[in-house]
């Protein structure tokens, strides 16, 4: 159970320090060395432009995992804010916030993200914008649900009577109750964001070449499936292992919180 958290830490570290461990320049084109099989100089071989695949994977961690972190964090902030406004702001604010949430939920997230990123022009900025815009709704629902139950508690009523500002009430009375559930939602959304970024990259709407993002690498590798099938394995494996780790950590976290809830 705990080993899952260690794995998460390893991935976080990899996303931060991966580039330092890379033996080669991930974007250095070296045509004579193209499509090398795994060997001593190039541990996982080279791609169609002779770039070292291991180095590209390590640099890619920063894009795939780092961007997913940013996107899911932005979604967390926006969604929590909207959910809390809905819970705290009275009936009209609640109605507007919840219908906005429903409207955004009306699109399958990835399809909306493809359209947004595609229409705005493929770039890292539109990728972040697209995935954030389609990834805040679950936080909003959770924040509103718990927020509504908290708003009836005695200490929130007394804080309102004392004239504490809504922002301070949100900070001191709502957020601490929300945080455990939000973190569980966040772990799920982080995994989804990793999948989303690689999928958009694979479809050509994500991180643009020559930047080594895992999905984009798969797009490149696909053409050479017949001659060098291994090239296609590595980036996909990176996605699967990181998503699996985060999902398992999220499950462990949820179980731990449920246990804690049962105790009190």
């Amino acid at each position: 159970m705990r080993s899952v958290y260690v794995l998460v830490a390893v991935f976080a570290l990899l996303a931060l320090c991966g580039p330092m461990l890379a033996p080669h320049d991930p974007t250095a084109i070296n045509i004579p060395n193209r499509l090398r099989p795994p060997g001593e100089e190039w541990l996982l071989g080279t791609d169609a432009l002779g770039r070292d695949i291991l180095s590209r994977l390590l640099h890619g961690a920063r894009w795939s995992l780092g961007l997913a972190f940013i996107v899911s964090l932005l979604g967390l902030i926006i969604g929590t804010a909207i959910g809390l406004i809905a819970a705290q702001g009275g009936r009209v604010a609640d109605w507007i916030a919840m219908r906005a949430t429903d409207t955004f939920l009306a699109f399958p997230e990835l399809i909306a993200a493809v359209v947004i990123a595609g229409v705005l022009g493929a770039s890292t900025a539109s990728l972040i914008f697209a995935l954030t815009l389609t990834g805040w709704m679950r936080y909003a629902r959770v924040a509103r649900g718990i927020g509504l139950s908290v708003s009836n508690r005695g200490y929130v009523i007394r804080a309102r009577l004392a004239g504490l500002s809504p922002l301070a009430i949100a900070r001191w009375h709502y957020l601490p109750s929300l945080l455990p559930s939000l973190i569980v939602v966040w772990s799920g959304m982080l995994a989804r964001a990793i999948l989303g970024i690689s999928t958009l990259g694979f479809l050509g709407f994500g991180v643009q070449p020559p930047m080594p993002e895992w999905g984009t690498m798969l797009l490149d590798a696909r053409i050479h499936m017949r001659s060098t099938p291994l090239q296609m394995i590595w980036p996909g494996l990176c996605v699967v292992i990181s998503v699996l780790t985060i999902n398992l950590a999220g499950d462990a976290l949820r179980d731990a919180l449920a246990e804690q809830d049962a105790k009190t």
């Binding site: 409207t103 399809i111 493809v114 229409v119 705005l120 694979f202 479809l203 798969l218």
Partner: protein, 312 residues
């Protein structure tokens, strides 16, 4: 019940209007002159000013956002999806053709997913914690983590490239659908197994069940009358998410396997900046999604009598 239904319907209509507005707003604010994009798509580079003016007037771009929105929405409500800005053909017939490839694949994948996940979850929960159960959970966890596009590529690599058993590209024959259906079905099966399994386990934990056993009610009857309805509630609630998952997978799978369905239609339209087509697919996806979720909501209410008491 009729009041609840009317409320849900009203909300669905509101959401769809919002979805249409959001879609139109996105394309309206897209970088670049939309009229120029249309003109270039139709007539190539170096378009004359007169042509641009004509396109602007035709699409209602000069009269501001709301007029243009209405110029698009009014025919849409009568079933007119407009014409492709690239080749000028009606969008609707092309959309129907695309759907004829997509829907059968979606249904087969869903059926495949159910056919695998329901028995697997039932066997796994017979003895929770056994190696069979653990295996099912592990398989499901890995299955949820595999991106559809990678699984599709791996299947192509194995069955089409290495073994040469099945065709990979196109949609001419039924055999062309086997790999796409396997790709999608696996993902659906993985997530459904997780959900059904935990649904059954939770239902089994209900505090009133031991009372039935003590009174001598047969295990089979308890499972049918008390465990199954309880387990069905969480399964039905997440079916909506499952549908989103399926629609998203479809886009990717159709691109990989070069099937001329809705997913390819959408991705090609986005690349070509063919906005009428993009709008049509996005809105269609929203309609499907909202309608199915409405249906799920109603089923959910009929399954769990406690919910229908609360307001819509």
């Amino acid at each position: 019940m009729i009041g609840v239904f009317a409320g849900l319907l009203l909300r669905a209509l509101f959401v769809l209007t919002g979805a249409a507005l959001a879609t139109f707003a996105l394309l309206w604010h897209a970088p670049g002159d939309p009229a120029l994009a249309i003109a270039e798509a139709r007539y190539g580079q170096n378009v004359s000013k007169e042509v641009l003016g004509f396109i602007r007037a035709e699409s209602g771009f000069d009269d501001g956002f709301w007029t243009a929105f209405w110029a698009w929405l009014a025919p849409l409500m009568q079933g007119d999806f407009g014409q492709s800005s690239v080749n000028g053909r009606d969008v609707w017939p092309d959309l129907v053709t695309a759907m004829s490839y997509t829907f059968p694949l979606a249904l087969v994948s869903l059926a495949l997913g159910l056919a695998v996940s329901v028995p697997l979850a039932l066997i796994a929960t017979r003895r929770p914690g056994s190696w069979l159960d653990r295996g099912a959970v592990a398989l499901a966890s890995v299955g949820v983590a595999i991106p559809a596009f990678w699984l599709g590529l791996l299947l192509i690599l194995l069955f089409a490239v290495q073994l040469g058993w099945l065709p990979a590209m196109g949609a001419e024959t039924t055999t062309h659908s086997i790999l796409p259906a396997m790709t999608l079905g696996f993902g659906v099966a993985a997530s459904l197994t997780r959900i059904i399994r935990s649904g059954i386990l939770e239902a089994r934990g209900q505090p009133f069940l031991p009372a039935f056993t003590r009174r001598g009610v047969a295990r089979r009857d308890i499972a049918r009358d008390h465990v199954a309805p309880h387990a069905a509630v969480p399964v039905v609630t997440v079916l909506g998410l499952e549908l989103a998952f399926l629609l998203e997978g479809l886009v990717v799978v159709e691109v990989i396997f070069a099937r001329p369905g809705l997913g390819s239609f959408l991705v090609n339209a986005v690349f070509a900046r063919d906005f009428p087509k993009v709008q049509a697919v996005v809105l269609l996806a929203a309609v499907i999604f909202v309608v199915v979720n409405l249906a799920i909501d109603l089923i959910y209410r009929s399954l769990d009598p406690r919910v229908s008491c609360r307001d819509a």
